[in-house]
């Protein structure tokens, strides 16, 4: 049986990859994908803890997260499409008009 620590290490690596993606990539769609990776890294943690403690709480939370992630993807993609229509660009640095 794989010990809990391994799951957590994988999860941390995935989360770091996702975070790096959010900050480093210049494409909104890639950023959205990176956010999905971060969410799934968290999911993995939940499930791993649930299994280690022998209950299903982690899995239940994971279903909620997946649901929210699906909704987020839908709304996020819609916003991306809207932005693209507006500016002909997917670079987040192009969208800085919401400031003082």
């Amino acid at each position: 049986m794989i010990p809990l620590g391994h799951y957590l290490i994988v999860s941390a690596i995935l989360f770091a990859i996702g975070t790096a993606g959010v900050f480093l990539r210049r494409n909104l769609i890639t950023i959205l994908l990176s956010i999905e990776i971060m969410l799934n890294a968290v999911n993995l943690t939940f499930v791993a803890f649930g299994r280690a403690q022998g209950n299903v709480d982690g899995q239940i939370i994971t279903f909620f997260v997946m649901t929210v992630a699906a909704a987020e993807a839908a709304v996020g993609l819609a916003i991306v499409i809207g932005l693209f229509r507006h500016r002909e660009s997917l670079n987040p640095d192009a969208f800085t008009s919401l400031k003082w």
Binding site: V22, F23, T96, S97, L98, K99, W100
Partner: protein, 714 residues
């Protein structure tokens, strides 16, 4: 029963103030006069009730309700009539009624709402004055004290469209306020020391103490009270408002600024006679200030040219006499003079009002003369009043003034007595100067056009608070305008004066209508009073029994439940009828009487000689001493000195220091500074809002890392 006395005028005030606009003049004026008469009737009944008691118990009280109850401090709203208060209420309601009746005719040219406003103020004044004299403790007295000040302000500024009247009203109010401040302090000091504000209890608390030989609490407290009295009763140094108060309607001058309100200070000292007689230091100050004021005002009155101003300074001078009497401990004599003075000064003021009424607003005696034929009633009543004030034997002023002078002499104040006699001479002279210039000789139009501000009496156009010089006085058109013709009108001189523009007959003779019936009634009654009032206090020396002095004596003594007044009277040394005068007295009193009678007659003779026979003497005298003449004409420059030393410094400190310094710099600075600090720091902070989503996400991430890191590794 006692409460009805002030409540009647209050009722009149309420009706006239609330519905006066819709009432006809007959109703509002009639109602105002009726409530005063009703109040007078009740006063007479109450006084009779008081008189029916034994001399020592002559007090009738009525407690309306408990006004303040806080811990040990309980203060009732109590009205109390004792001999002193009974004299006061009779004077106030009696003379007040006459002046109300007089006013119905005098003010008749006003529009109905103004007319009602006038009478509502007049009634309110009577109400407060009655509260003042009926109050049984300092706080009730103070309510009346402030109330009459308010009414004085309202009535001086009655014609408030006129700048000078509004200024004079403000001046009176502010100057009075200075005195009131000291008065409150004195009251508080007495309360702290003796724990009560009731006059009788205070007197009983003080009576067992010896007179203060050093300058102690009582001296300070009475001195503070006396400063309050100088404000209300127009003594040095706070007298400056009274001459300016002549901007008000003439009956107001008669009622408030001669007969009643200004006597409040004298009354207050009489009411606290026990306190004052235990503070010899204060008494000395009172006597000296009184004598100085009497002399100073008398000299000013000698050269003034406005008929009402002469009377105003004469009032200040007579009030000085009253304070002199108070200061030497002759409380009975002071109140006696207060009472006789109310008659003849009201008579004189109303007479001057009749003259002004007849001449449509002319107040300058240089433009009068020869009015005797046209105004017989006014002339004879004015003459009687003048004889009385001058101290001609057997008229009212003679008895009261002589009693004061005698008491002053008998108490060993020879210098003060000399000043008093000198003032008596001045009084006779300036009063008869007024009589002769106004009523005798030929009709004149001598007043120069006001091109020289320092020569022209500005008639109150120059209150201390005001800087404008009367050289540009618009109230007085050039003399040439009305000199050549027989027409007396000064069109535009004062749109408020009665009948100024209503009718314009061609010949002067038609114009001089004597006082209408309502005015004549008041004048005649007051003239009779001026003759007879003195007989209430004929001194022992000429076979009288000084009834008034004996009547008043219990009021100046501490009254306690067990020891009766006879004993207490001796204790504070009530001088009027007491043993003090008896011993070496009567011969001395008689000789002093002869002296002052001679002085009065000499003064009249002097006035007759100068202003009837040889008018050029007066001009020559003025030319011989131009400095002195100018000094007197400008009232010793007191207004100017006050303006320079008090008003202007306060103005400058207020403007440059408090306004431009404290208000603009500190207060506004703090408010604006807060705003600019927020603005400045925000301009730095807002750079954080770059609009870049990734920057926000980065800061969010860093924040999460820091918080989590803190919890994980702390």
């Amino acid at each position: 029963m006692i409460a009805l006395i002030p409540l009647f005028p209050l009722l009149g005030f309420a009706v006239n103030a609330s519905m006066g606009r819709r009432l006809s003049k007959t109703i509002s004026g009639g109602l105002a006069s009726l409530v005063m008469l009703a109040s007078f009737a009740v006063s007479v009944m109450v006084v009779l009730q008081v008189a029916s008691l034994a001399p020592a118990q002559r007090v009738v009280e009525q407690t309306l309700y408990t006004w303040i109850s806080s811990g040990d401090f309980v203060l009732d709203l109590t009205l109390r009539v004792d001999p002193l208060a009974s004299v006061m209420i009779l004077v106030i309601t009696g003379i007040g009624s006459l002046i109300h009746i007089y006013s119905t005719a005098y003010m008749h040219e006003e529009s109905a709402p103004e007319y009602a406003r006038y009478f509502s103020y007049l009634n309110l004044f009577a109400f407060f004055m009655l509260v003042l004299v009926l109050g049984a403790n300092f706080l009730v007295l103070f309510v009346g004290w402030e109330g009459v000040g308010l009414c004085s302000y309202l009535l001086i500024g009655f014609w408030f469209e006129k700048r000078s009247a509004a200024d004079a009203g403000k001046k009176a109010f502010v100057v009075n306020r200075i005195g009131d401040y000291a008065f409150i302090l004195g009251t508080l000091l007495l309360f702290v020391r003796f724990g009560t504000l009731d006059f009788q209890r205070l007197a009983s608390a003080v009576a067992p103490l010896g007179a203060e030989t050093t300058f102690g609490v009582l001296s300070v407290a009475t001195l503070l009270l006396f400063i309050g009295a100088t404000g209300k009763s127009a003594q040095i140094p706070l007298y400056v408002w009274l001459p300016d108060a002549m901007e008000g309607p003439t009956p107001v001058s008669a009622l408030i600024h001669a007969a009643t309100m200004v006597t409040a200070g004298v009354y207050m000292i009489g009411r606290n006679a026990v306190l004052f007689s235990h503070a010899p230091e204060t008494m000395a100050v009172v006597a000296v200030i009184g004598a100085a004021t009497a002399l100073m005002a008398g000299t000013i009155g000698l050269v003034q040219n406005d008929i009402k101003r002469v009377l105003a300074y004469s009032t200040v001078s007579q009030l000085g006499y009253m304070f002199l009497a108070m200061g030497v401990g002759a409380f009975g004599a002071g109140i006696f003079h207060l009472y006789t003075h109310a008659f003849f000064k009201a008579c004189l003021f109303l007479g001057s009002g009749a003259v002004i009424h007849a001449l449509h607003g002319e107040q300058d005696i240089r433009n009068m003369g020869g009015l005797k034929a046209g105004l017989p009633i006014t002339y004879w009543t004015f003459l009687v009043g003048s004889l009385a004030i001058a101290g001609v034997p057997l008229l009212a002023g003679f008895f009261s003034k002589d009693e004061i002078l005698y008491e002053t002499f008998a108490h060993g104040h020879v210098i003060l007595w000399t000043i008093g006699i000198l003032t008596s001479l001045l009084t006779a002279t300036y009063m008869f100067r007024l009589v002769f210039l106004t009523f005798h000789g030929d009709r004149r139009h001598d007043a120069p056009a006001p091109q020289h501000p320092e020569e022209e009496e500005p008639a109150g156009h120059r209150p201390a608070a005001d800087l404008h010089r009367p050289g540009a006085d618009l109230h007085r058109p050039a003399a040439d305008l009305h000199r050549p013709g027989s027409d007396l009108h000064q069109p535009g001189a004062d749109s408020h004066r009665p009948a100024a523009d209503l009718h314009r007959p061609a010949a002067e003779a038609h114009h001089l209508h004597d006082a209408p019936p309502a005015m004549a009634l008041a004048l005649v009654v007051l003239a009779i009073g001026s003759v007879l009032a003195g007989y209430a206090g004929v001194p022992h020396a000429i076979g009288g029994n000084n009834a008034l002095g004996a009547w008043l004596a219990p009021s100046f003594a501490a009254r306690s439940a067990t020891t009766l007044a006879d004993q207490a009277v001796g204790e504070v040394g009530e001088p009027g009828a007491g043993e003090a005068g008896e011993a070496g007295g009567e011969g001395l009193e008689l000789s002093l009487m002869v002296v002052s009678s001679i002085v009065a007659l000499v003064g009249i003779g002097l006035a007759a000689f100068i202003w009837l026979k040889r008018r050029e003497i007066a001009d020559k005298a003025a030319a011989a001493f131009p400095g002195l003449y100018r000094l007197l004409l400008n009232k010793y420059y007191v207004d100017e000195v006050y303006d320079a030393t008090i008003v202007q410094p306060i103005r400058i400190v207020s403007q440059e220091g408090l306004w431009r310094g404290v208000d603009v710099q500190v207060i506004d600075g703090a408010v604006n500074g807060t705003a600019s600090i927020v603005d400045g720091s925000s301009s730095l902070l807002r750079r954080l809002q770059s609009g870049s989503v990734r920057a926000y996400a980065g800061s969010l991430f860093i924040g999460v890392v820091l918080i989590l890191g803190y919890y994980l590794w702390r």
